[in-house]
Symmetry: C2
Subunit: 310 residues, 2 copies
């Protein structure tokens, strides 16, 4: 049996190896995605995002436990900001695993973007496909809610949960403004802290100022204390309600179409770049880089030269 | 005179228009970068990064004021996480401009990534080149310190300053671990808060655990209260000391080479992607997206099909 077959059959070790493969990228990763792709499209993909310190991992872990109570299997992908350089991703796995250790219905993996030409968005997208193909009913993608990459990941989910906490500074307000349009559900976490009610009110006010509800869905603003598992049942209920709503109104179909377009764009970018770099023989590449560094050639002219040689 | 000529001659309105052009990307942006490229390579590019709420904008503004005291002109590019969806970038400009309003020796611009195929990294890189060509002695690039894009931006600078604040949570520790290897100087901001000494100690301990100093430079760990302009002179001194050190040891040359390679990679990616998308006629693109969404075709096979038609 191939790695793809093993993965689809539910072999957890095959899944772990497969994710490592898509982290690395290249032809083997693409071949794997090709093989599992017909088995995807069944999972409920849930994006969870929010500023550092908002308690994302704690909430994700508690939500996973609640889904297990409901006999749903859960795959979790955490996009760890520390991954490009440190061993943080591995450490993160260990910490997050503890409360679900030994339960084969939960699979947790932190992603590193190291090495993949297409970057973290493509690696995360492919890992989501793998968990989907492996049969997990719910796939949670956890990202730090800053920057375009996170917005991309969040907008690729069927349901996007945005975490907020009381009493954060101005920078966080800016993030909130950025992520507002992709949020399907808000959760004010650490709601036992002062300012929780104010945070809820502020989010509701921002929602009223913003766009009209898409397809008749108004994002609810919930409260939680994830550390004590308070408000977690309501959060999971809201996510499931949003899923049913998307299915009934056809907005899921639209999202799947948007996700397919994003996947094609990213695949095209990766293939085109890889192709271009293969064409650039090592010595020529180095020569061009040298001329750019000396300012006798600009990067775009150099790139055009490389592409014209294909 | 062309826009590039006006910009190199010091026309601020031309500079503002030029940055809007590189935000949008495409052939006009590339033509502009080509034209100004021979005039670049003179600015001291300083990356400033740190978690949301660390006080980056305040420190950057105070450092700019200090450089103005030293008769150095300063260009600032702020990469605003709220930009993809909100008008946050524009608002940010207005807020940040206040304390330097009317000083032609300071130019401040927030970047939006909207619309640019090459993404925020390429847009920021090009804007840095424009400020360099416009003759600014110091160009500060301010980013939120999470995610690969920020690490890329930070590692493209001549000198990278990483901000920390006392008493942040675990997530922030993870970020710190991620950005540790690209930091040339650490500044513990809000050092009048409890835990400042502990934060300094922790950073020093992390530095000792980490890699050996690169080219003989050990990152100093400074303290500041940017809001009251305390510690800012020392921070600017450290940045200038690092610049001289880089010049004397040749490590700047290495960084310029690495930056040139990154610029070529990004330019190649953008050109290759644009080329591939031009080849994909609208109807064919939509048909492929539809088949991906239906799971009858995977993204990589679709991308390969598009590329084979070029």
């Amino acid at each position: 049996m191939s790695l793809a077959d093993d993965l689809v059959a539910g072999n957890r070790r095959a899944l772990a190896r497969a994710i490592t493969l898509v982290e690395t990228g290249g032809a083997p990763a693409r071949e794997l995605v090709r093989a599992v792709y017909p088995h995807t499209g069944h999972a409920h993909v849930v994006g969870v995002t929010g500023a550092p310190g908002a308690g994302k991992s704690t909430l994700v872990s508690a939500m996973a436990a609640e889904w297990r109570e409901r006999n749903r299997t859960v795959g979790i992908i955490a996009v760890d900001p520390s991954s490009p350089f440190s061993g943080g991703a591995v450490l993160g796995d260990r910490i997050r695993m503890q409360s679900h250790g030994g339960d084969a219905g939960v699979f947790i993996r932190s992603m590193a973007s190291r090495g993949r030409l297409g970057g973290i968005a493509r690696a995360t997208g492919d890992a989501t496909l793998l968990l989907d193909a492996a049969g997990f009913a719910v796939v949670i993608v956890e990202t730090v809610g800053t920057g375009q990459a996170d917005v991309d990941v969040a907008s690729a989910a069927d349901t996007t949960v945005v975490l907020d906490v009381p009493g954060m500074g101005d920078d966080v307000q800016a993030i909130k403004a950025g992520i507002l349009e992709v949020a399907d559900i808000f959760v004010v976490n650490k709601a036992d802290r002062p300012g929780a009610e104010a945070a809820v009110k502020q989010l509701r006010a921002m929602l009223q100022l913003g766009e009209k509800p898409v397809d008749g869905w108004t994002p609810p603003v919930l409260q939680a204390v994830a550390m004590r598992a308070e408000g977690v049942v309501a959060a999971v209920d809201a996510v499931e309600r949003h899923y049913r709503h998307g299915r009934d109104t056809g907005s899921h179909t639209k999202r799947h179409h948007a996700r397919a377009a994003a996947e094609l764009r990213e695949a095209l970018q990766e293939l085109a770049l890889e192709h271009a770099r293969e064409q650039a023989a090592g010595a020529m590449w180095e020569a061009l880089v040298g001329r750019i560094a000396e300012r006798t050639l600009d990067p775009y002219s150099a790139a055009a030269e490389l592409l014209s040689r294909q």
